[in-house]
Amino acid sequence: MKLPPVVRLVVRNFEANLDPITLLVMFGQPAFLIVILGTMFSGLISSVGSSGSYIAFLVPGMIASQMITGAVLCGRVFWLDRRWAMVEQIFSGPFLRAEYLAALLITALLFSLVGVGIMVLVALPLIGVPGLSGFELSVILGTIALGSLFFGGLLIAIGGRIRSANLYFTIQSVLQYFLVFISTVYYPVSAKTPLVLRAIVYANPLTYAANTVRDAFTHSFGAGDLVAGAVLTGLAVVSFVLAVASFNRLELGPVQ
């Protein structure tokens, strides 16, 4: 029995373009940061808001940041497919462009979830079992899904309009570091934070995702998180539309 085309494409995405070292770095780096940053800063910072210890604050943020990791890997698959003419090869085969796009976004989501799993495993010895309710777990997974769709769609939209690998990977790196560092993944925003930085942090969708995941961890999910969820949903829709538009205008042929 043939698997559905989207499933075949997702399986192929997982295997085709990603070498083990890339995956080790992509997932190992945040895991490493949980251990090192969590341990080091926990000695310096006595408590952070309702999270308590710094490491309890950091872990939900790192979990949320996995949506960026998933999106970056998905963008990488797409770009390498363009670079090595696999987009054309697939488009000339028994697949719809929509299926290829869907497979990329599902790939982003699945990579994000793999990242979440790894972060949880690394964090467990440090913070213990979080004791999440089914609802809180759903909130976390839903937030990760929306975030993956948003960031994955964004990178696909950008990747579809650029014909240079150097430029694409530069934009991706800048975006990745900008989004992660100017958010509440590593540190909270307070009244002491400079206004400009505060404005940028609150313009960053990852901030809302990190805050929502953190609230789920601290059992303090509230109205603000519902608004954040609505904003993230809206952004995910916009990003998806941008990705579709980019795909429709995708110029096939050699890229550098």
Partner: protein, 334 residues
């Protein structure tokens, strides 16, 4: 190698097809040809003639901007997954996945929905056929240019198809490998696979294709069976006439005068004492003329050879800048 010419089911029909990047800049225009089941159709042309664009349009990667084409009887604009599932495409650009050669083959089979066991045995067949066994565990980018090209063709043959598009599949291959691949393709064509084939190597088009089309500036200058295209566009052929003895000066003058008066475009390549070598458009007439001239003079003609035109010569005549316009009412012969 080419064989059947009887009417067959048409798998690809192209009618006044064109693709334009902008209203002023077209890549291909007014292309018309058909490909029957089991037929090998070769698209020839210089760099930038429009061969790759034609393949990209016909494989639905680019939408035609004018004219029509039918793939398996369905308008190209409406062709989708079902029609694409019946074609195979070896693109000019290298396409590969970042896994071993062997896994590339089976993964591609998986992508096309080929059952696992079938994919596995077919991969073995392809690895052997395309002499990739030694590099089966290597990543494709570590292969030589020729090996990568072989790999591209091998991978596409992992799935079933009725029409195969090959965009310069033999670039960078040595003569022996090329011969093997062409023989394999010819065998597949005899089994009913239709092939659209672009190449710069005219000898292989001559060998493999039932019909060829010559593109120039995005337009089809001529098409038909290779022999027909050669006959029509071969230009002057080289004739060598060897006499039993050296010709006297009056005989030489007389013979040259006769040939010149014959009216055919005629050019002496060399005139040694007993051997005349010349080029002429209609060599057969002049050969007969020479025999008639020699007979009453009691002069035996030891040998007369007419070298047949190659497809390359016909091609050069066709696409050279000062080539005459296509004399036919349309560029289609067959």
């Amino acid at each position: 190698m080419p064989g059947p010419t009887s009417p067959r089911e048409t798998v690809l029909r192209v009618e006044r097809l064109g693709y334009a990047y902008s209203p002023e800049r077209f890549a291909i225009r007014d292309l018309s040809f058909e490909v029957g089941r089991g037929e090998v159709f070769g698209l020839l042309g210089r760099n930038g003639a429009g061969k790759t664009t034609t393949v990209r349009v016909l494989t639905t990667l680019l939408p035609p901007t004018e004219g029509t084409a039918e793939l398996f009887g369905k308008d190209l604009h409406r062709c989708g997954r079902a029609e694409r599932a019946r074609i195979g495409v070896v693109l000019q650009a290298e396409s590969l996945d970042f896994v071993s050669v062997e896994r590339n083959l089976t993964l591609y089979g998986f992508l096309w929905g080929v059952p696992r066991e079938v994919a596995k045995s077919r991969a073995e067949e392809m690895l052997a056929l395309f002499e990739l066994n030694e590099v089966r565990h290597r990543k494709p980018w570590g292969l030589s240019g020729g090996e990568r090209r072989r790999f591209q063709v091998a991978r596409e043959l992992m799935h079933e198809m009725e029409l195969l598009f090959l965009d310069e599949p033999t670039v960078g291959l040595d003569a022996l490998t090329r011969k093997r691949i062409l023989e394999y393709l010819a065998r597949r064509a005899r089994d009913g696979l239709s092939i659209v084939f672009t190449t710069h190597i005219l000898q292989e088009a001559d060998q493999l294709c039932h019909r060829i089309g010559v593109l120039q500036g995005g337009r089809l200058r001529a098409s038909g069976p290779p022999a027909e295209v050669k006959r029509r566009y071969r230009g002057p052929r080289t004739v060598e006439a060897g006499f039993e003895r050296a010709l006297t000066d009056p005989e030489r003058t007389d013979l040259l005068g006769l040939l010149t008066r014959h009216g055919e475009k005629f050019k002496v390549v060399s005139f040694e004492p007993s051997v005349l070598t010349f080029q002429a458009g209609n060599a057969e007439d002049l050969v007969a003329e020479i025999s008639r001239w020699a007979s009453p003079r009691d002069l035996d003609v030891d040998r007369i050879s007419v070298r047949e035109a190659t497809l390359e010569e016909a091609f050069v005549n066709l696409v050279s800048d000062d080539a005459p316009a296509d004399p036919g009412p349309r560029s289609e012969f067959a």
